[in-house]
Symmetry: C2
Subunit: 354 residues, 2 copies
DNA sequence: GTTCTGGATGTTAGCGATAACCTAAAGCGC
DNA sequence: GCGCTTTAGGTTATCGCTAACATCCAGAAC
């Protein structure tokens, strides 16, 4: 008899089938949802499965179904903390589905570079692509994907657009909640540092801020707003401009944590105590938020979970191909959370002298 | 005729074989190293491959060879920046080999938690495990892996131990180089903030520091050394202790960037200008290093590349199983790089008054 | 010339799972 | 009771690739 190539004693459907007294096909049916299987049979199979500790072989499965095995992830250096969370979630979902994640870095802001990076995917036969911010809003990337006929799902694209797929939090509402937190503490002079002007999320966060200010009966026009780019450096510059003015704002709301961390740095250098002299808050809850002193009050986005959801949505979309080309798009909004740490407090009493 | 399940027109070995006028097996041989194939045949096949844009199907391959399809990665929240780089590298190598990466978080420092997390792998049939710091030095983890018979490769385990597999930089030499940089600038009073006492890398970096100090003819005993834990918070405490003393050190060498960033924060709060009044340097070159002002002079570890190498080493080791159980261990040292940014300068002239 | 040797290639038989098809019994309306 | 649909399950044929074995043939060895 020929030498068998049988691997290191992995349990297969056949083994389970034998143990449960059914055919391999029935086991397969049980594993994948169990339609058209009698309850008693199903139980017998399930019992056999965990008695033998059966784990389906993902390679065999994806070979058999001939489905997506590679999904792309185009990233452009958002904060490293963001990326690692994102990868963790995406990887978990990809593995569950038995498909590989193909990473493609896209440094460079030019349209050419972005298009070039996107084109890599077409050559690498990925069946779909996940787009974390900020690339989800890049025109060249989307054009190129459309040209190659590769479906994509965006994550944290600020606002829904018809025909696109997107997973995000409600930036507007989250920013409003954060603003209310500051107002509730007694702040009446809150400065806002905006995010990158090309990202819809920046505008949404700002809108949420304005909305909450108005809702509290305050005048939005009285609040100082500085431009920013979501980078540490831009936060530095914005805060310097703000703190040069008198009276100083009693609170600064930066549209992300990187800029908030920068604000903390500048405030410290000017001898201000946080939060006694000034409150500073961020947005995103990346690791950086707890790597400054004091730790930042911020808004947590469930990044890993969002990535997971996005992958699942992409796979669902790929599977549906053929059923109907339902290109109507889909949006999923996941819950956020206000995380109050140590960088916020009521405004100083002698606000007049500040 | 039965409906075929043939997927979306993917090119297969058969197609290539037909185009090149050879058998599928020959194509397979060419793709995998091409032993025992005549040069002329090889060229014909290669030509056909890239004319048809053939990409081997990884699922089919790993099903056929019955090889490792899952390799584990046990992580314990090192800095997020470290993790994302690590994942990028590991993922690239895993995909090339057609195998999946199974992530397992291991929060918690207790032996029980670590053992428990490790045990997850045994149940998930991963064939090998990659261990980034600090878990690569965890006794419970290693015991548990050994018990389950799962081979592992460590990354950045500070020093080589017989019988283990490891990829790292030369922490000793890197720390010495950094110290020489400070000495060359004119510093004679350099404080050192150590890393976590349980990690060998901490000791190595400190040894490198001491060695360079001695080599320059200075007295190591005169240099202040503070304990630390590689965390931002511990860096904060250590720096506060250091800067309370007079005379202040003219330079602080923190054993990683997180602690160096903390040192920058404390120095700023005390009104010191960096690098004019004091130089501060870190180690690792994670993203945080450029997210403080001024950007940190530090040592770059090629993290992604190290992870890639580790995965490759692990796979080689798994394949070799059966040939010989060569348990002699292996170590690979990759080059590091001193990155001089803006946080270092010559010591202040009036050092006497500091 | 014959046998041996080893390199270059083809052939066959899986790897583990599932799609598509088939079968047998049960349910159902009339 | 008869055909018809539905349900529960088995059979068979792949998916794409490669290990193991078989074959062929040129040159070496005798």
């Amino acid at each position: 008899m020929r030498a068998t190539r049988r691997g290191q004693g992995g349990v297969t459907v056949q083994d389970v089938a034998r143990a449960a007294g059914v055919s391999a096909m029935t086991v397969s049916r049980v594993v994948n949802g169990g339609h058209n299987v009698r309850e008693s049979t199903r139980l017998a199979v399930v019992e056999a499965i965990d008695r033998l500790q059966y784990k389906p072989n993902p390679a065999a499965r994806s070979l058999a179904v001939g489905e997506a095995t590679q999904i792309g992830l185009l990233y452009a250096n958002p904060s490293a903390a963001y990326l690692s969370q994102f990868l963790i979630g995406a990887l978990a979902a990809a593995r569950r589905a038995g498909c590989h994640l193909v990473l493609e870095p896209c440094e460079g802001e030019s349209a050419d570079e972005q298009a070039e990076a996107t084109r890599q995917f077409a050559g690498a036969d990925v069946q779909g692509v996940i787009l974390p911010p900020p690339l989800c809003e890049s025109e060249p990337v989307r054009t190129e994907l459309a040209a190659a006929g590769i479906p994509s799902v965006a994550v944290a694209m600020g606002r829904h657009e018809a025909g696109t797929f997107n997973v995000r939090i409600d930036d507007f509402e989250a920013a409003a909640a954060m603003t209310r937190h500051l107002i509730d503490l007694g702040h009446r002079d809150i400065a806002f540092i905006r995010g990158h002007p090309n990202q819809v999320a920046s505008a949404e966060r700002h809108r949420g801020f304005v909305h909450a200010v108005e809702a509290a009966g305050l005048d939005p026009a009285a609040m100082r707003v500085e431009p920013g780019y979501f980078t540490y450096r831009s936060g530095l510059a914005a805060t310097e401009r703000l703190l040069r003015q008198r009276p100083r704002p009693t609170a600064i709301f930066a549209a992300n944590d990187d800029m908030a961390a920068a604000a903390v740095g500048v405030a410290h250098r000017q001898g201000l105590h946080i939060p006694r002299d000034i409150s500073i808050v961020g947005f995103d809850d990346v690791a950086l938020a707890t790597n400054v002193w004091p730790e930042l009050t911020t808004v947590r986005q469930p990044i890993a979970q969002m990535a997971e959801t996005a992958v699942a949505m992409l796979l669902a979309r790929l599977r549906k191909r053929g059923g109907g080309d339902a290109a109507e798009g889909e949006e999923l909004i996941v819950p956020h959370e206000l995380v109050v740490r140590e960088s916020t407090a009521p405004p100083p009493r002698d606000a007049a002298h500040r």
